[in-house]
């Protein structure tokens, strides 16, 4: 169990959240112009670093807001939470 710092509610147990994957993956501007490989890349290919990763989290059992944070994928350290702005 890790403790996730919600920018609105403070530190809460991981079980209150949904994980939203890597942050900053923009929806393609013109999806119909992509070939299959480019579409598959958008859907499935992520940076998957061994280290710091910007992620999206959703506080489903609390304030029900999406936000971003940075998590270290090896140590589970978490830093710099910031609210996810709608694009």
């Amino acid at each position: 169990m890790i403790r996730v710092p919600c920018p609105h509610c403070g530190d809460r147990d991981e079980t209150e959240f949904h994980y939203g994957g890597e942050a900053g993956v923009a929806y393609p501007a013109d999806p119909s112009a992509l070939d299959d490989a480019a579409w598959a890349s958008y859907l499935f290919v992520r940076s998957n670093p061994r280290g710091w990763l910007r992620e999206r989290w959703f506080h489903g059992a609390g304030c029900r807001r999406w936000f971003n944070l940075e998590r270290h994928t090896v140590t589970d350290e978490i830093r710099s939470p910031s609210e996810m702005r709608p694009q």
């Binding site: 209150e16 304030c63 029900r64």
Partner: protein
């Protein structure tokens, strides 16, 4: 006609016998409260208003035979772009009082309630059920639980309260 409808109403804990009156802990259901969720930057007017999250409020009022709070609240909020929705049937309300009330909740809730001031509210999980917890006094808490989880939570609370029944 209206009276007949009210007589047919059954709270989620109807028939469970939920309730406790011990020296350091009381528990009771307050069924059929008028509950309205409000989306608005500023707090809406009301006797019991809880902040659920950013721009998100829960207004708690006495039981009423009709949807009583939604329309006046929606009228007040409209100018500022706020909305109000009656959610009375969404949850039931459990009231816990006494010096053991917060301790009892701590058995199944990882949130530190000691940092919640009087008038403050937190949402989280209690015994696995999603709840809103509002503090109305140093030793009194209101627990808003979804109707479908109410029996589970009432059973859990009654069991967890065993050490405080003298």
């Amino acid at each position: 006609m209206t009276a007949d409808v009210l007589a047919l109403r059954r709270s989620p804990l109807h028939g469970t016998g939920f309730g406790l009156a011990a020296p350091g802990l009381t528990m009771a259901e307050e069924p059929f409260r008028s509950l309205v969720e409000v989306r608005s930057p500023a707090a809406p007017a009301g006797e019991l208003v809880w902040r659920l999250g950013p721009d998100w409020w829960l207004v708690d009022g006495p039981p009423a035979p009709v949807v009583a709070l939604e329309v006046p609240l929606a009228g007040e909020l409209r100018a500022a772009g706020g909305v109000a929705t009656d959610v009375s049937a969404h949850r039931t309300t459990l009231v816990l009082t006494g010096p053991h009330a917060a301790t009892l909740i701590a058995h199944g809730c990882p949130i530190d309630l000691s940092i919640v001031p009087v008038g403050g509210c937190v949402q989280g999980t209690l015994a696995g059920a999603q709840v809103a917890l509002g503090r109305t006094g140093p030793d009194s808490l209101r627990v808003y639980v979804r109707a479908a989880f109410a029996r589970h939570l009432a059973t859990w609370l009654s069991d967890a309260a065993t050490p405080y029944v003298e």
